[in-house]
């Protein structure tokens, strides 16, 4: 039995009919065609599906689509604005922080959340904690931390879009 839901994803409103068991990840990938969020394990263990729901990092594979009605969902597809890369995207490119790239969208969203929290620039340990739920099998993680640290040190935190920052 499908129900009609309204999803706010990357600033756009989508009306779709979903089964109650449909996950947010499945809705994003198979209903909206937003395949940037990856299906790595379906158990909330690999982090490849990480998106932001009301600015908090959220595992889309463990979240039901019907549960995010009225909340703001942001995916990796929202980061580049008018084809200008987000500083984190640019830093990942410069530092070679993506190899196979499959974990990259989820890691970027965890890192975006960390940087949007404002306050002092996070140190390497804080970065590790923020990314501890994201698995990467290729890089050995060093370049990922380097990339996030680089952005943290060189940008004043803008806060989430639409907020005034903290």
């Amino acid at each position: 039995m499908k129900t009609l839901v309204s999803l706010d994803v990357n600033g756009r409103t989508y009306e779709i009919a979903v089964s109650p068991e449909l996950t947010l990840l499945e809705a994003l990938r198979y209903e909206l065609g937003l395949t940037g969020s990856k299906q790595g394990c379906d158990k909330g263990d690999c982090g490849a599906c990480t998106v932001l729901v009301d600015d908090r990092p959220t595992l889309a594979c463990l979240t039901l689509a019907v549960a995010v009605q009225g909340r703001k969902v942001r995916t990796v597809e929202s980061l580049a604005q008018a084809n200008v890369l987000h500083p984190l995207q640019d830093a990942f490119d410069q530092h070679g922080a993506a190899q196979c790239g499959f974990c990259t969208p989820g890691i970027l969203m965890s890192a975006v959340s960390l940087l949007e929290q404002g306050g002092d620039a996070p140190d390497r340990l804080s970065i590790k904690k923020a990314l501890s739920g994201n698995l990467c099998r290729c890089t050995g993680y060093t370049k990922i931390i380097d990339a996030v640290e680089d952005v943290a040190a060189n940008t004043s935190s803008p806060g989430p879009p639409g907020h005034t920052g903290s």
Partner: protein, 783 residues
């Protein structure tokens, strides 16, 4: 006019797809927009490890709505085999099943939910038969696959008898799940006239093409296999991706519709083969100077139920038991255990890590028995650049071994000796937290051990606007092969990297390719790209002479660099685009293939002699660990790596390979543990129970350096392969752990098992403490 000879070679470069990765736009098979009419394929699998199929009734499943087909072995129009080497792996089980999870039937339906309903509706009864799971059990039962491989030199038993220190032992290393982040997937589109277009997540598109052709009973030219990219491969997609393509192709053949076969994580881990678990017995002897004189090894990989690549994997193990050490008297005998596990397969290192673990266990035990620094002890046995100490067990003289040089540089830069002393002092005053330091050298042979496979092709297309499409036979799985190939192509043609587009790997561009494997992707395909570009430049030079207005005899003087075409030191100059445009107008061909085969490699396994490798990569690592004696938990505080990649083509890519390989090796040896129940069912089939290294498991302080002035002759631009070798450096962590544990009971023999999970380490701590008690009791009784 001066030109800086700007070249993208030997400089850092971003991964060619990174700008797509970070935007979420890089497509993997399962991201391809579904074609109209797409159906899904899923499997009915064996519930037992070994058994006879006594009932397989698919009629109820076939009758379900939205189910389009349920296919069994009887529905295979061609040959029911999807093996890599010898025809011993039925695509769908016929009569007998040999492991849990083996495919018996394919259901084809409109959604994955419909597939699940169909699988549940299949009536299957399997009568269980006795099963064998481990190499030890196989040895006891004599359950082997074909053949024995022996490499022998000198008189092992005679030499052992003369040795000052002689000991024997057993060592087991565990399996490892590849855990590529992108699971196996294939998408098959039936096209006109009985042809098929296949998008596959595979390291070996030509083998996918060959296997699908065999299964469908059609010639290979009716099939095009394309690889977009893989979300990781590590060897796990060298052979086993072909099965998914073949199941989907079979489904497409029967339904006439596009079919995707995609596995979720649990299905993937249950279906796929792993790194071979390995069992070995050894006897070793050292002379009075602490030099390894003799090593006798009997070694048995757990092949699983079919051959897959196990023979070549065993070969590479035997070629690497010597690692960096000259051992005068050796006998290495290997056999492959046939068991009722999924067929184990290629995984980064391809048997070499398991072989090297044997000799490193020998060195660790000897150092502990002799009370010597294990790094210094190892260096005494290094291959040296003289005729007395440079011959491998297969009697090939190593040209210029680099172990000693790397050893000296790393000992100094890591301050190994001083830190080792400081750690021993630390351990004296720290009762519950112990630290240790370990050193690991490596030598790794580069080439496919099956010599025929060392060939590659490329196809370079220049368009009349000066932009370039680059095709080569290698696949991109994150290792940066396309980036390196673009750098080679840009360098040869003298154009900026941005003018070149690396195309998806496809069997209609370069035929009969070898797998992207054996760390050889850059060496082979790079040389093929180079050859194609040389052909094109030979055609473009006379055209350039015309455009520059110089005599054609001056064509060899013309330089191509960074999009400019000129004669160095003179004022003649034009652009690459202008030369290309003129070439088109003058009716000169602007496309060329390139081909390369590795020269002079040949090995005769029947006598264990030959030159199996084109050259060797070297490296070394020093790791420091900290162990909590109350919990067995441990972490790597610092790792220093000095690695030999020759003249790195793209240093940023190579560093990523070294760091990633090392951490993956740490996973194999510390936290990744496959657990099976006694029925042969894998219990750890998802990341909730199978733990690969997280960001918290990497070394806290991680220092990676590339060996300088390390040009490798006869390899593309002096570079060396990098994919697999650094994986072995993680063994430094095991040696460091043993050093830390040595202070629990100084002088007691350590029996640390791998993987060194906190549980395994804690068990060893408890055992050592128990050993103290026993010895003390004996002491009390005798005094």
């Amino acid at each position: 006019m001066t030109h800086s000879q700007k070249t993208p070679l030997h400089r850092p470069a971003p991964h060619e797809s990174c700008y797509l990765h970070v935007k979420g736009e890089a497509r993997y098979v399962h991201d391809v927009p579904p074609p109209p009419g797409l159906l899904h394929a899923a499997l009915v699998t064996s519930p037992v490890a070994h058994g006879r199929i006594v009932e397989l009734d698919v009629s109820a499943a076939r009758a379900l709505p939205r189910v389009h087909a349920v296919l069994t072995a009887a529905d295979v129009p061609g040959v029911n085999d999807c093996s890599a080497v010898i025809a011993d792996e039925p695509l769908l089980a016929d009569g007998e099943v040999h492991c849990c999870g083996q495919a018996i039937a394919v259901v084809v339906a409109e959604s994955l939910a419909d597939c699940r309903a169909a699988v549940a509706a299949v009536k299957l009864r399997v009568e269980a038969l006795p099963a064998i799971f481990s190499s030890r059990e196989a040895v006891a039962a004599g359950s082997y696959m074909n053949g024995v491989h022996i490499i022998e030199r000198g008189d092992v038993q005679g030499a052992l008898a003369r040795c000052a220190l002689r000991f024997s032992g057993e060592i087991e290393t565990s399996g490892q799940e590849h855990f590529y982040l992108e699971t196996h997937a294939a998408l098959v589109l039936p096209e006109e006239g009985g042809t098929y277009k296949i998008t596959s997540s595979t390291q070996h598109p030509s083998e996918v093409q060959a296997n699908v052709a065999k299964v469908l009973g059609i010639p290979r030219n009716r099939i095009v296999v394309e690889v977009l990219r893989m979300g990781g491969g590590f060897g796990g997609k060298e052979t086993q991706g072909a099965h998914l393509a073949a199941w989907a192709a079979l489904a497409a053949r029967h339904t006439g519709r596009p079919v995707e076969c995609w596995m979720n994580r649990d299905q993937d881990m249950l279906f796929s083969g792993k790194r071979h678990p390995w069992y070995s017995r050894y006897e070793a002897g050292f002379d009075a100077h602490g030099v390894l004189q003799a090593l006798d090894v009997f070694t048995v990989p757990n092949g699983g139920w079919s051959n897959d690549l196990s023979r070549a994997i065993l070969d590479r193990c035997l070629f690497h038991i010597d690692n960096a050490y000259f051992i005068p008297h050796v006998r290495f005998e290997g056999r492959i255990a046939r068991t009722n596990r999924p067929s184990n397969t290629a995984f980064r290192g391809f048997g070499a890590p398991q072989g090297v673990m044997i000799v490193e266990e020998v060195f660790n035990r000897a150092a502990e028995a002799l009370g010597l620094d294990p790094a210094e002890l190892r260096s005494r046995s290094f291959y040296r650049d003289d005729e007395e100490h440079n011959r491998t067990p297969y009697d090939f003289p190593l040209p210029g071994p680099r172990s000693q040089r790397i050893h000296e540089e790393l000992m100094e830069s890591s301050e190994y000796v001083a830190r080792r002393e400081a750690l021993e002092a630390f351990n004296q005053r720290s009762p519950l937290v112990k630290r240790g330091i370990g050193y690991q050298p490596l030598k790794f042979g580069v080439s496919f051990t099956h010599s025929m496979l060392n060939q590659a092709g490329a196809l370079v297309l220049i368009y009349s606007d000066g932009s370039v499409q680059l095709n080569h036979g290698g696949t991109e799985m994150g290792q940066g092969l396309h980036t390196k190939m673009m750098a080679v192509c840009a360098h040869e043609l003298g154009v900026p990297m941005g003018r070149i587009r690396a195309m998806n790997t496809a069997t209609d561009k370069v035929p009969n390719t070898s797998a992207t494997a054996a760390s050889a992707g850059t060496d082979l395909n790079g040389a093929a790209v180079h050859a194609a570009c040389v052909t094109l430049l030979a055609r473009l030079r006379p055209v350039a002479a015309k455009v520059l207005g110089v005599d054609v005899a001056r064509a060899p003087d013309i330089a191509f660099a960074d999009g400019q075409v000129y004669i160095p030191g003179e004022s003649y100059e034009t652009s690459f685009d202008a030369v290309v445009r003129r070439a088109y107008e003058d009716q000169v061909s602007l496309s060329s293939t390139g081909y390369y085969r590795t020269p002079n490699i040949k090995y005769d396994a029947s006598i264990g002699r030959g030159k199996p490798f084109h050259y060797y990569a070297y490296g070394a690592a020093v790791s420091e660990v900290e162990v909590n004696l109350l919990t067995g938990e441990h972490r790597v505080l610092r790792t220093d790596i000095l690695h030999d990649v020759g003249d790195s083509l793209v240093p940023s890519i190579d560093r990523g390979q070294i760091e990633g390989a090392f951490v993956q090796g740490l996973g194999w040896l510390s936290c990744e543990e496959l657990v099976w129940n006694d029925k042969g069912f894998l219990l750890t089939h998802s990341p909730d129970s199978y733990k690969i290294p997280t960001i918290g498991n990497m070394p806290t302080d991680f220092r990676v350096e590339l060996l300088q002035q390390a040009t490798q002759p006869d390899v593309i631009h002096g570079s060396k392969a990098v994919g697999e070798p650094p994986f072995l450096l993680a063994i430094s962590m095991v040696t460091a752990l043993r050093h830390a544990l040595a202070s629990v009971r100084p002088g007691a023999a350590i029996e640390l098992k791998v993987p060194c999970t906190p549980e395994a380490v804690l068990r060893e701590i408890e055992r050592l403490r128990e050993a103290v008690t026993v010895q003390e009791r004996q002491h009390e009784l005798t005094t």
